[in-house]
Amino acid sequence: MTDSLPTGERRQLAPPLVERGALGWMRRNLFSSWVNGIITVVLVVFVGSILSSFLEWAVFTANITAETGSECHGQGACWALIIEKYRLIFFGTFPYEQQWRPLVASITLLAMLVLTSDRRMWNWRLLVIWTVGSFITFLMMFGQIHLPISLFLAIALLVGGIGMSLRKAIADTGEMNAYRFLAAIGLIGLALRIAGVLPAWSLDIEPLSYVETGLWGGIPVTLILASYGLVFAFPYGILLALGRRSDLPLIRALCVGFIELIRGVPLISLLIMASVMLPLFLPSGVTFDKFLRAQVAIILFAGAYIAEVIRGGLQSLPKGQYEAAEALGFNYVQKTALIILPQALRVVIPPLINTFLGFFKDTSLVLIIGIFDFLNTANQALVDPNWAGFPAEIYMFAALIYFIFCYSVSRYSKHLEVELNRGTRR
């Protein structure tokens, strides 16, 4: 839709003024045709009027000094409300004088996420980051951590089992024996623990006062639900995706059924199920923490979506990769863990991040079952009758926080997409 055709050039003349600099830019980008010109003018008037009245409200007549809500009425935005309530919004009902703890926990979680986004960390360091980070986070939130012996045994069994199956071809006898030893200790220990022979010993770390999950709220809750939702849903999504691509008909049917069932229903129904029905599923007297219930529902939900993303990655791999792995004499576990997944996962990292953003926003639904995530604590700040009547301020503030987080993550995902494609671009 250009109105000027390139004409044969005879002499090297500087382009006319209207083609150069700011004017030229405007001509090309805003007034390239009379239709565009009209659009530009209309938009400038429209956006200008909205922006100016917004600024009038949000900046020029805003009140940041009011002591109570009644001083705020009849003026612009009441940012004094945010100043008054920011601790409630960020940390919810966590004991007031202890609120440095959720602050430390949130910073730790954010640091974990930032470190995780650095590609140089994508190896054993990731495990260290998450172990140390999780320890700090939960120590801060709970104040006390009890590590039961069964946890150590389970970790030993897990490490031993994974080592035994994945490093079989590479490791020397000494290393293999170490794995076997670990797995055996874990297995025997767990069996003894379940049989009741081993006492319920646990490592107690109790430097701070205990704060139950019912009092948690705000930013750390949202971050924990989304991050650990992804961390736990990830391996489980991989299993589901592999199951869906498996040659074994029963496994495939199970996985397809599960994935489609979860993806076909809204998250709310899963959350309601977790909050109302879970107690009925368990033997009488066994109860589950409310927070944990929501976390389990989010993991189940996230797993199904992650499985579909990973399936895309698996499908994008050329068949030759499978055949090459088989030609090397790898068994299924080795083939999958050493050849297929590393390649498939690399392809799906950007869509996985977008899925993560989805959960991050979806965690806000937990407010429906009474968990104080960030949106819920923001809502809570509206309840105070002394400060009633300023929903726009609170929601804009909350939206800004969500936006900053989600926007930076989605920019990072775009950047990563380019970065990861660099090697494979043909």
Binding site: L30, S32, L261, G264, P266, I268, S269
Partner: protein, 396 residues
């Protein structure tokens, strides 16, 4: 034993525990067994709990009187109706908001997506920021914001803003507008509308066939619109052209008469449409960007006008990229409509939630929710898959 084919290598004897087929089956049986055991354990606990606490079970309650009122219904409903009808009201409300949401967010999303590709820098920047703003903030937050804004910014019914010579009223109770008084002819007009749609489709097919055979174009779109609108109009005239209208009027606390769009519905629809259209815009944009530039040039070289080129060359190809991700957005709208519960729109989840509280039968009701959403999701998927196959057929 199986007869071995001539020339095939003799079967290597392997121990049964090394035979991949046997191992596969053992593995499957173990996994299915574990899942079944888990299910058995959970169901056993549930039955035990139900028995011990004497919680009633079964779907008998569906036929009992619901006893609660619903604020926004498309079919006649009163507290004397059954639970089944209350749930049906909820399903219809969910469908209403989902269908409208799908249509409106497709339109708005397409506009924004095309706007992002506009040569006009300002327009494309505004569209870009629209997309970023709406998709990077949780939908629930938008819903709360819109609901609060509607219920706090609009005046009460007695100070309602009126327009069009006091026939349309806007207040925090919703938007009231006049509608024709129910008349038996309306049913027949609906029949006429359906017949008109069927006729228009038949006309379009015939026109296409004729154009393929003879090359003569037929204005099937304008003719189709005429048929679709004309038939009900004829029926209306034949029925004596009843013009009685029900006008909204302030009576007591609220407006009476006319029809109303309630604030809860508006907030939900606006929130869903704005949020989803941001995603739709991205899909449309990438669909158009995926097209090779040569396509539009080739269409221009054939002498097709810009509109025709869009309709006959570009759109059909872009649609193939657009439809699969669009399907999942449509499913998302349907599922996200369940957030209605947070702002009080009586959708399926809200109806079921009240039913759970009144009957105490959580399990049956949650099963109902899941079954309802699954069937809606599956029908949308099926329709979109059908549509996808249909547009894929144009590939040669």
């Amino acid at each position: 034993m199986a007869v071995e084919a001539l020339g095939s290598a003799p079967r290597v004897k392997v121990a049964p525990w090394n035979d991949p087929v046997i191992r596969g089956w053992v593995f499957q049986i173990v996994v299915v067994g574990l899942v079944a055991a888990l299910a058995w354990y959970l169901i056993g606990n549930t039955l035990d709990n139900l028995n011990r606490q004497k919680i009633a079970s079964g779907f008998d309650y569906l036929g009992r009187e619901a006893g609660f009122e619903i604020g926004d219904t498309m079919i006649s409903y009163s507290p004397a109706s059954t639970y089944a009808r209350a749930i049906w009201v909820g399903i219809l409300n969910t469908l209403r908001v989902a269908v409208l949401g799908i249509i409106l967010s497709t339109i708005l999303g397409t506009l924004v997506g095309v706007g992002r590709l506009s040569p006009n820098w300002l327009l494309s920047k505004i569209c870009e920021w629209y997309v970023e703003a709406f998709r990077n903030v949780p939908l629930l937050l938008w819903l709360f914001l819109f609901y609060k804004l509607i219920s706090e910014a609009f005046p009460g019914p007695r100070q309602a803003i009126s327009a069009f010579w006091n026939s349309v009223f806007l207040s925090n109770r919703g938007l009231y507008f006049p509608v024709p008084v129910t008349d038996p002819i309306h049913k027949w007009m609906a029949v006429g509308l359906l017949a008109g749609i069927a006729g228009a489709i038949a006309l379009h097919r015939w026109a296409k066939k004729r154009q393929d055979a003879t090359g003569q174009p037929f204005p099937s779109i304008s003719a189709g619109i005429a048929v679709v609108l004309g038939l009900p109009a004829l029926v209306w005239l034949a029925g004596g052209a009843p013009t009685a209208m029900s006008w909204p009027a302030l009576k007591g606390f609220n407006f009476e008469g006319g029809a109303v769009i309630q604030p809860e519905f508006t907030a939900l629809l606006v929130g869903l449409v704005l949020y989803t259209s941001a995603f739709v815009a991205e899909i449309v944009r990438s669909g158009i960007l995926a097209l090779h530039k040569g396509q539009s040039e080739a269409a221009a070289a054939l002498g097709l006008s810009r509109g025709l080129a869009m309709r006959l060359v570009l759109l059909p190809q872009a649609l193939r990229v657009i439809v699969p991700p669009m399907t999942s957005q449509y499913l998302n709208i349907t599922k996200n409509s369940s957030l209605a519960i947070a702002i009080g729109y009586p959708d399926l989840v809200a109806s079921i939630n009240v039913t759970i509280n009144q009957t105490g039968q959580a399990i049956e009701n949650i099963l109902l929710i899941m079954a309802a959403y699954l069937s809606v999701s599956l029908s949308i998927s099926a329709f979109m898959n059908w549509y996808n196959r249909r547009i894929a057929l144009t590939e040669r």
